[in-house]
Symmetry: C2
Subunit: 252 residues, 2 copies
């Protein structure tokens, strides 16, 4: 059994705690949150604390705090030479205080408190300063997921950037679509099968092969009509730039 | 049995023909393509022709040709007072020649020849000039799909525009993500669970509720790092505009 303490109980910490507490190979011995109320509001099956000085002895400390708090909390930990691993896509390993053995355990997924997710297929990107710690973090990964990879800080930064395009920016495209439909009294649900198929297609086709639509076929008449239909200036601007980018890519 | 002739055997025509020929309520009596080779290359189970003058008698003629060919082919049809329905999201019903009874039968989905799709959940947007024809087109819809709706030309234009954001533009975000990963030697498949979850989330959350990421939480440090990481100017530009648009939306 790997003994784990989770530091931070926000969006990511909550989901990791759920995955860990159900796992037979993991002993989730404690969860820390600086916010007493957060911990008090949940029906939890593990010990909790809101004092760093009362952190228990563990094999791994998973640091699931906001990116800009990682450095500070790593300095505030009241111990040294332990394995601590943050869960961020964009923060370099070396940002953490070197008084402890540093690692990264980054689950590449989008987490909302309102929606539970299965960890079994989430890619876990692992990094550590020595092989032994790498092995512990990899083992912790394989206990909850079938997809665990050693990833450097440099690669991870690019994966996180790519994830912003694939997740946040795609989701914003859905949002603009929902705004366009709302104005005509059409329910957003009419787009759900299309969105599902768009995401499904790239399991078998590269995104460039899967592309269709007016930009791809350089259908200037439809593009002109669409720009006339769009009412918001920022939507017109986005339509124009993304269309140019698709055309540019097609003509390469 | 509804007797159907399909005019056009491109991306959309091929998929409609597949759905119709397997359906017990539909008699697919003929498919027209101006291109003899297209028809000759497929193992087809229905009659074909490449001459408009040899089109057979049918209850509905489904016009599945490119948008810019719909008007021309509607004029070239050698008959009148028949029910003809095009399959385009962006072309108004009145674009077709009025010598025939005009309708629209628009399956809201993305079709690639390389990938088969199930019609059962594809929303079919139906429009016609009289109630009887509406009923025929609705029946044709319900034979292959559980989601059939009467949609005006004006609504359909907005649905098509929304679909470009939700499908083509999302897919372009996946493409940029794949380019970013490629430069660091990371396989695109690492993003597949994230893309699947992003699309899945909007079954239970509105896109605005599902949004996360640096733009949403106004994390200027990560945004700055991402812009430094991006190498292509058009990617930087897109990142900046989409981030602004997400922020603008969040602050509303």
């Amino acid at each position: 059994m790997i003994k784990v303490v989770i530091i931070g109980y926000g969006n990511v910490g909550v989901h990791i705690a759920q995955a860990f507490e159900q796992n037979e190979g993991i002993d989730l011995i404690q969860v820390y949150s600086r916010n007493k109320k957060t911990l008090a509001s949940c029906p939890l099956h593990f010990a909790t604390t809101c004092l760093l000085t009362t952190l228990k002895e563990a094999d791994v400390y998973i640091v699931a705090v906001p990116d800009n708090a990682i450095e500070t909390i790593s300095k505030a930990l009241p111990f040294k030479n332990k394995l601590i691993a943050h869960t961020s896509g964009s923060v370099a390993l070396k940002t953490m205080d070197s008084k402890n053995r540093r690692g990264v355990w980054y689950p590449l997924q989008t987490f909302s408190k309102a929606k539970s997710v299965s960890f079994s297929k989430i890619p876990i990107c692992v990094e550590a300063e020595n092989e032994e710690d790498q092995m512990v973090l990899k083992t912790l990964g394989t206990l909850v997921s079938t997809s665990v990879q050693l990833i450097t800080s440099e690669q991870r930064a690019s994966i996180h950037l790519a994830a912003v395009f694939a997740n946040n920016f795609s989701n914003h495209m859905y949002h603009i679509a929902s705004q366009i439909l709302e104005k005509k009294g059409v329910d957003f649900s009419i787009l759900r099968p299309l969105i599902k198929e768009t995401a499904h297609k790239i399991n078998t086709l590269a995104p460039s092969e899967a592309q269709t639509g007016p930009a791809m076929r350089e259908d200037s008449n439809t593009i002109k009509n669409h720009l006339e239909l769009l009412e918001q200036e920022d939507h017109k601007k986005l339509y124009t730039f993304i269309t140019q980018s698709i055309k540019h890519n097609t003509s390469q």
